[in-house]
């Protein structure tokens, strides 16, 4: 059976037991990360796409083919959807060897072709010489690769990965990121990956949706969601800690800037046409939008958003230093992060008074 290439479209409303509302599209060949805190409905969403659970209302379409439709009462089983599914704990069959596990997913091709195909996939995920081992005799990373090979070998219509890296150690995880990034180039089907780790989404996904408490908060390219969160809830989910009150004081159409009053100071940010002068707004800036080097090199950011700050806390975390500063004369707290090398070069120290620049293009006014 040839692999059918199509987009996946989901429109789900669930109210019983678990509240979940989602409406999104995942294109063929695209990796879509479903990101959010535990208990937010991510796994439920994946199970509904797999056909293991059904939503109360909605539709799930694979190309023109309906997989689920509450109005026409269509609900295909997981078997009929021909998906590749990798559960959080891999779901390997403990009584079958690695090779037999992969063969078990190959019901769509003739029997004679199954073993060669399974061996080929085990090779492709770098599991040389281990086809006869039982899952209990494999390490976490090896088990993860067997599960991935089993899901991919099916030539699935959609590949579903539920927290694929949560059950392996950090070193294995780093290696598996590279392998999945390499495999990604060869994948033709929509790939939906559930994760609570934002870095995984940034590393591996082409687009992401953010889900919290069953609600889809935002969809877009991972970097865009991170740098342009729609609202404060998204900003907090994305780990932004620099969220402040401000007042729009001037709209500069010619320079494409919006000026905000922050404390007693004026700061410029990218033009936000929806905001009127005098309106109170919330705005956010990611850690990397706060710069020390521009000042030290006497190169100013284009926005001139200079702030005098006092360094309150310095936390050395491996190769980076996390800094908490107070805007001088206020209780406003800025969080930022610089490399350890850079902090040493600038001789940053606790209690030091210095100046930082806020990159205007990274200041984002929230809805």
């Amino acid at each position: 059976m040839a692999q059918i290439i199509a987009d996946l479209h989901c429109q789900i409303h669930n109210h019983k037991h678990i509240k979940l509302n989602a409406d999104f599209r995942c294109k063929a060949g695209e990796v879509l990360a479903v990101v959010g805190p535990s208990g937010g409905g991510k796994t439920t969403l994946l199970r509904m796409i797999a056909g293991l659970n059904h939503p109360d209302i909605g539709q799930i379409n694979f190309g023109a083919k309906p997989w689920f439709n509450s109005e026409t009462r269509i609900a295909l089983s997981p078997q009929q959807r021909h998906i590749g599914y990798m559960p959080q704990h891999f779901g390997l069959f403990p009584n079958l060897t690695a090779l037999e596990n992969v063969v078990a997913g190959l019901d769509h091709i003739p029997k004679a072709a199954r073993i060669p195909r399974a061996k080929d996939w085990l090779e492709r995920v770098n599991l040389h010489g281990l086809p006869d081992r039982l899952p209990a005799q494999l390490s976490g990373g090896q088990r993860q690769r067997v599960a991935l090979a089993r899901a991919l070998a099916r030539e699935p219509s959609v590949l579903l990965l539920d927290e694929p890296f949560s059950a392996v150690d950090r070193e294995t995880r780093e290696r598996l990121y590279l392998e999945l990034a390499r495999l990604k180039e060869q994948l033709l089907c929509p790939v939906i990956m559930v994760t609570h780790d934002l870095n995984e989404a940034l590393l591996l996904a082409d687009s992401m949706i953010l889900i919290s408490q069953g609600q889809m908060l935002q969809q877009g390219a991972p970097f865009d969601v991170l740098s342009r969160p729609r609202n404060e809830a998204v900003a907090r989910q994305m780990g932004l800690r620099n969220i402040f009150d401000g007042e729009v004081v001037f709209q500069d159409d010619t320079k494409n800037l919006t000026w905000l009053k922050f404390g007693e100071q004026l700061i410029a940010c990218d033009y936000g046409k929806n905001f009127t002068v005098g309106s109170r707004v919330r705005w956010a800036i990611p850690n990397q939008g706060i710069r020390f080097n521009s000042i030290s090199n006497r190169r100013l950011c284009r926005s001139f958003n200079k702030l005098d700050v006092t360094i309150d806390t310095m936390l050395v975390m491996g190769e980076s230093v996390r800094l908490i500063c107070y805007v001088t004369g206020t209780q406003l707290q800025l969080n930022t992060e610089v490399s350890l090398h850079f902090a040493q070069k600038l001789a940053l120290a606790k209690g030091m008074q210095t100046t930082v620049a806020l990159k205007s293009e990274q200041i984002h006014i929230l809805e």
Binding site: L52, P78, Q88, G91, L92, F93, P94, G105
Partner: protein
């Protein structure tokens, strides 16, 4: 030593497990995975033979299936044979009394199969029957074997329900437990002693086997969740 009674007991135990274990696999799997209205009542009903004296169960079966009852008369019309005081009646009584011994270990074994494994099997395109035969049964076999050993040994030593339902007809309903009782009544303590020793040895062996299998099932459960 009453060899005929021993043979009848072994025959009764074998037929009981052959009838009961497949039913217990279906019931245990359903109770482990399905949620339905009245599930706790069904589970309670299954456990009733554990707390109800076998003679009480025997009494109800005798009254319910005897020639005076409509059900007994209907069965006699249909098969030309009464169930009471007959070997087939003993099989029915043994199956009913042993339901908890069969269903409980199998249900627990199915509950120990991780959801991830069953979900992955469905997403691999396997039918329900194939999932049961190829994935679940190889994982729950210690539970099935435990149920089999428990039921076989329990039927072998069953007394109250057998006496109530079957009476004491040699070659038809006289099992080894009743033969022991008979021997003691006849002051033949030697025969009673030998037959009791056979049952004692069998019970100890069966329990040792069951304990070992339970440990094995526990170990497998741990391995599955690693």
């Amino acid at each position: 030593m009453d060899w005929q009674a021993l043979w009848l007991s072994v025959k009764l135990s074998s037929i009981t497990v052959l009838v009961l274990i497949p039913l217990a696999i279906l019931a245990g799997r359903t109770l482990a995975y399905r949620q339905f209205v009245g599930k706790s009542w069904v589970e309670a009903l299954i456990m009733v033979p554990l707390v109800l004296p076998p003679t009480v169960i025997g009494y109800y079966l005798l009254v319910g299936l005897g020639s005076q009852s409509w059900l007994g008369q209907w069965i006699e019309q249909l098969f030309g044979q009464q169930l009471v005081f007959h070997f087939s009646g003993l099989v029915l009584a043994s199956v009913i009394v042993n339901i908890p011994f069969a269903v409980q270990p199998i249900q627990r074994a199915f509950e120990a199969v991780p959801n991830d494994v069953r979900d992955a099997a469905a997403c691999c395109g396997m039918s329900r029957l194939k999932i049961l035969l190829k994935i679940e049964l190889p994982m729950v076999w210690p539970g099935v074997l435990t149920a089999l050993v428990l039921c076989f040994s329990h039927v072998l030593g069953e007394f109250g329900v057998v006496l109530m339902m079957g009476g004491n007809i040699a070659g038809e309903t006289k099992t080894i437990s009743i033969a022991i009782y008979d021997s003691v009544q006849a002051f033949d303590f030697k025969a009673a002693g030998i037959m009791s020793l056979v049952l004692l040895l069998f019970a100890v062996t069966a329990l040792a086997l069951t304990t070992s299998l339970s440990r094995r099932l526990g170990g497998q459960r741990g391995a599955n969740h690693r």
